[in-house]
Symmetry: C2
Subunit: 331 residues, 2 copies
């Protein structure tokens, strides 16, 4: 009999997430009921939002202690009792951190296979459309504007910057460490990159944005958001995508300059979730595909192998150790 290895969240972290909050368990492989399919998990995608889910209800229910850790994954149908799904189909679903999951049809998004398959996670399923809609529909960046993106070496940030370049913007990334900053400029074609861990971060940010900032794609919140607010131009727009600086702490802090600077500079700050743009998903996918084919958009992946590495993969992502989309290969 085949076992289903799972990673459980054993305790809700109060402060920093650590390996002690997880444990590896074995369960039996579930049997799909009518309307369900049995999935074999291929790749699990890691996101800073995974940590936010432990803090309480967000755009989904909170992940509770004692249950399988939640997470979006690419999976293959190995048994189907749901119409519309056949053995061999590849789907995106919140399978959680485990080797097998039985899920109802409505929890699955069927995807056409691409080469490499991991692009479904690193580009098409979440990161690409998030970058695309946040930049173009929420912040409405246009050619000639200065766009700043934080967590710029991450999966979403690295795509935001490249899409902004494709659209003719002046692009500055904010990332942790000189090496990542060099990579953004030398490999991804950003116009500038600023190291938020450097002592002279504010000075660097000012130097990199001589015309101020028109659009800020915010993945981090906190101090970096505060610093950017002071550099924003009149009528600037801030697409609020995430707040990773505030997820892995017991003491989230407030942002000064809100709402004062919003009034003075007539700024717009707007939160969004990629699911809100489902209706336009095909347009985004077509653009992303064509840009990759034309060599204008590089997709960076950071793949670890083995279900057991999932806890450390997330812990490391929260401290900024990844470059591009962090993925754990499970099967």
């Amino acid at each position: 009999m085949v076992a289903n290895r799972q990673i459980h969240l054993v305790e809700t972290p109060k402060g920093k997430l650590g390996p002690e909050h997880f444990h590896l368990a074995e369960a039996t492989v579930p049997a799909p009921k009518a309307g369900e399919v049995l999935l074999k998990v291929l790749y699990v995608g890691l996101d800073a939002a995974n940590r936010a889910w432990m803090q309480g209800a967000t755009y989904r229910n909170a992940v509770e202690a004692g249950t399988v850790m939640a997470g979006g994954a690419l999976a293959e149908v190995i048994e189907s009792k749901a119409s519309g799904f056949a053995v061999g189909d590849v789907v995106f679903a919140d399978t959680g951190w485990q080797e097998y999951a039985a899920l109802p049809a409505e929890a699955l998004t069927k995807l056409a296979r691409v080469e490499p398959l991991t692009h479904l996670l690193s580009l098409y399923a979440v990161s690409g459309p998030t970058a695309y809609f946040g930049l173009l529909k929420v912040a409405r960046a246009v050619a000639g504007e200065t766009v700043v993106v934080s967590a710029a070496a991450g999966s979403v940030g690295s795509l935001v910057g490249q899409i902004a370049k494709i659209k003719g913007c002046h692009v500055v990334g904010i990332a942790g460490g000189a090496e990542k900053c060099r990579w953004l400029v030398d490999e991804l074609g950003f116009d500038g990159a600023v190291d938020y861990k450097a002592g002279d971060f504010h000075k660097q940010l000012k130097a990199a944005t001589p015309k101020g900032i028109d659009v800020y794609f915010d993945n981090v919140g906190g101090d970096v958001l505060e610093a950017v607010l002071f550099r924003m131009n009149m009528k600037g727009r801030i697409a609020c995508c995430g707040a990773v600086s505030q997820y892995d702490t017991a003491t989230p802090r407030g942002v000064r300059g809100v709402p004062g600077l919003l009034v003075v500079k007539r700024l717009r700050m707007e939160g969004f979730i990629v699911m809100d743009f489902q209706a336009d998903a095909a347009v985004a996918a077509a653009d992303l595909k064509s840009w990759v084919a034309a060599g204008k958009l590089k997709v960076q992946e950071d793949v670890l192998v083995g279900l057991e590495h999932l806890p450390q993969a997330l812990i490391g992502l929260l401290s900024g150790e990844n470059r591009g989309k962090r993925i754990v290969k499970v099967a």
Copy 2:
């Protein structure tokens, strides 16, 4: 020879504004140059923003120590060297806190006289259009939504709530003290009012907004904004008009929940200034006029008499002692 009494800002306040920051001086009445008019100041309007101007450059230059305190006023042309302006014309201008001012034509907005004349300050010149555009163009409140407004007993807030009622919204005001709260409900027709100074403010706010909050018109920032963020509904909108809780202090504080709650609830926060909507000013004025004529919109004024009372008028406004538009009659 007639003297021109003036109130100077003698020192930029670091913490709370007090009478010691002002002094009364006498100057000579200026002579208008070519292209200028000589104005006799009739009424000075007080605004929380007057205090913000002392903190540094906002949407206007900072008010500097040693100069006449700035302020918007209703004034009459008593000598004209500018084409388009005749003796007897009434204008709105930043004359500053003094009895006479010589200003160029481009600094003046000529206004048609209304009865009472003070409505030009309390309704037409600033407060009315600010309430109107912030609620209807920035926050885009529509019938059936729950609208919350802070500093609700102030000049802008009291109009915001009444306009929202006219538009069919469920309206809750936030104000300081039980008496103001009763006035909002009994006299202005708000559906509810919450006392932010009460120990059970959060509980009161929850009880007054059983369906959550769709639109928040924010005049105060700080703790009240933070409390409201937690009650906002999905896709809610916050019109950022001011941050009076943060002006009169040496230690402005950050707002928690930004940007986290903006992402989770897909909220939009947007700052604005009434001048941005100049192109639609006539539409707003016509609506405001018709609502007053129909008895649907009450204009509350709080008039003090005598230039020398201006410092205390502003100090008192910052601590919330006014109800409706605070005006000082100068001439």
